[in-house]
Symmetry: C2
DNA sequence: AGCACGGGAATTCCCTTGAC
DNA sequence: GTCAAGGGAATTCCCGTGCT
């Protein structure tokens, strides 16, 4: 036909993956399954424009490549995996006349290699070179020294089509595709906010609020965190609302301390108590989290948790000390951060990961290679066969 | 003479040591120096009852042994170290007529071996066997399989005397001694309390207090922590004082949350504000730490941080809600924990580490061995010579 | 009961801090 | 400056939890 054999990725692999070690995926276990972007889906690819007259069968081989498309030492094990690669052969007469088919990587896990001691990495690179899966025809002369502990992640998946004609001759094709980058799961930015203390306060006065994080913060640079107190937004009102910025005084591995400012001059509510959100944001990673927070106006005064009675208005006059310099300022509505429901983590935008654009796959002459000598190489350690 | 050559340890090595890896002590660096029990002192041994008529020289060799006195794969580098052992030779004619001398291990570091991959440990054990320093004549037939990642620490230092006669024949002696056990520095129990929040409160009412720890807690079992509020002790008074126990509600890796009880029924002070200590103890590890804490009695009432004026006594009558069930109880004076000055860490007692008593060194026949073939073996990797 | 997931312990190494 | 100490990042592994 006019259009030639092609392959595309229907479902990209998950952006963050917990790579497992060989030791963790041995003995019938898998672990570290590779999923697709959507929840619990899996990676899917489509092969199109098959010509059953020319092609007795079509084989898709998938393996790892670096962001710039060099062969990569991490490998795949699980269903339809051999020699560290995913390999699926489809006889064209099983297509029922269709010229395309889809593949799902149902039970495939992506396995990393040891970096320590350093010769383990070298061995793994050599093994990967021996597998001879180089879909983008990269120059391999410098491959054996290009990988270090620092540049093994992120990586991509690459898929290439091999065709077998009716003389049973198998040849690689230039139909190849690569996935988006797969990062280490520990790089996924998250703000593991457990709770804050105290979770309520009064309008006047300043005091510290402590934020405890179960997960260690990715940095302890106070200026890269922001804390805002925001009145819970009721759908009906577009009018003025309370918003104040809290000064971040300290950041430790699992703790942030911020100072609640005096809110007297900002207070416009007629309510005695106002439900708010405290929104804490990591500006460096563009992530935020929030918790509900109560601000009480002592009109009528409630004396902490132990006063059940109220004072009369006459008393209030001299109870207040409004000489504080409020650090909070009233923000424009457009600056307002939408309060989160409690315990919700929101991703402001994707982190700006390095996204060097790799060169387009070339259709240059493929080195003489029988696709199936892939399997002739020694089995990778731990790369036990899948369901076949 | 009647009494025979003997060796004793004058200064034991530090109980907790940060063993360094070979990679950390290479290239002229030392690091991980072994110290004595006292601050910045060093290990010292004394050789006694030397007989200059029989002994042309006396050599002390020191090396590592397990708690039960088998040769141990960790090794020593630094001044006077060769082949992973400390070796010091003393000519008896340099003693000036004395029959004893002392040795200090001034610049010696104790180096650990890699456990991963497992063959590294095996190599290290084999190297240690080749060194042939076995001062307590242990049966070595099972040595090559006795060590695992789990039983390499703690360990001991052992010192043995070798003598050289006037025919220049060197022989080991049964004069040997072993040190107390040396544990890994990470096992040293400590409570890295950074601060608590809030650090003041009022007599009535209950609320949470958060304790943040820079160092991860060794466990998160609430029942194994205790928190007490103790009135600062003035030397002059043996009379009643305030003490209350706080209920520990939650323990996380870096956080403990405890609830301050209502103190109304315990309050006997005439003071408006009482300086206290909050003492937090890890009962499992017998360590505690404390911070100062202020308890204010709202008589006259101070309304948090914003009320500069006081209420008159008439008002107080209905401000109080004393229906709380105080969880605190008045303790006997003998139960009282001495308040610590702020930021002081106190060790209640030494942790109960395993202290299996090894057998006494035996004077059995020592295998034929020239002490100085120790040095004939290949240099340990990283065991660069010291100052000689 | 099996098995993948996720937490976190254990191990190794690197790099800043601090003392001289 | 030198270099050991200490903090903590990076790596590897183990195991409890939860789902089927």
């Amino acid at each position: 036909s006019m259009t030639s054999l092609s392959i595309e990725i229907l479902e990209q692999p998950t952006r963050y993956h917990r790579f497992r070690y060989e030791k963790e995926v041995s003995g019938g276990k898998l672990g570290g399954l590779l999923y697709g972007r959507s929840e619990k889906s899996c990676v899917r690819v489509r092969v199109s424009n098959i010509d059953p007259l020319m092609q007795k069968s079509v084989t898709v081989i998938g393996g790892t490549v670096s962001p710039d498309l060099y062969p990569h030492p991490f490998f795949m094990v699980g269903d339809d995996c051999r020699s560290g690669t995913f390999q699926l052969k489809k006889d064209t007469d099983s297509l029922g006349g269709k010229t395309e088919f889809e593949i799902s990587l149902e039970k495939v896990s992506l396995v990393c290699v040891l970096l320590r001691p350093p010769d383990k990495l070298q061995e793994a690179v050599n093994r990967r070179l021996a597998i001879n899966f180089n879909p983008f025809n990269k120059d391999l002369t410098s491959m054996s020294s290009m990988y270090t502990a620092r540049n093994l992640k992120p990586l991509r998946l690459a898929f290439q089509i091999f065709v077998t004609d009716y003389n049973d001759v198998t040849a690689p094709t230039s139909a190849a595709v690569y996935s988006e980058e797969i990062y280490d799961y520990k790089q996924e930015p998250r703000l593991g906010l457990y709770d804050l203390h105290p979770s309520s306060s009064e309008v006047p006065g300043t005091h510290d609020i402590w934020f405890y994080f179960d997960a260690p913060l990715s940095h302890t640079d106070c200026s890269q965190f922001s804390v805002h107190l925001v009145e819970d937004h009721n759908e009906h009102d577009n009018e003025a609302f309370l918003e104040a910025e809290l000064r971040v005084k300290m950041a430790k591995k699992h703790l942030i301390v911020a100072e609640k400012p005096d809110l007297t001059e900002l207070w416009q509510s007629a309510n005695e108590r106002l439900k708010c959100q405290v929104v804490i944001a990591d500006k460096k990673n563009n992530i935020k989290d929030s918790r509900s927070f109560i601000v009480e106006n002592p009109r009528p005064v409630k004396l902490g948790v132990y006063a059940d009675e109220v004072l009369d208005d006459d008393l209030l006059g001299f109870l207040y000390d409004t000489n504080h310099q409020p650090e909070a300022k009233r923000l424009r509505e457009s600056d307002r951060v939408d309060p989160q429901t409690s315990h919700v983590v929101a991703q402001l935008q994707q982190p700006s990961q390095p996204q060097s654009q790799p060169p387009v796959a070339q259709a240059s002459a493929y080195p003489a290679l029988d696709a199936f000598n892939l399997a002739a190489h020694h089995q990778l350690p731990g790369a036990s066969g899948g369901s076949n």
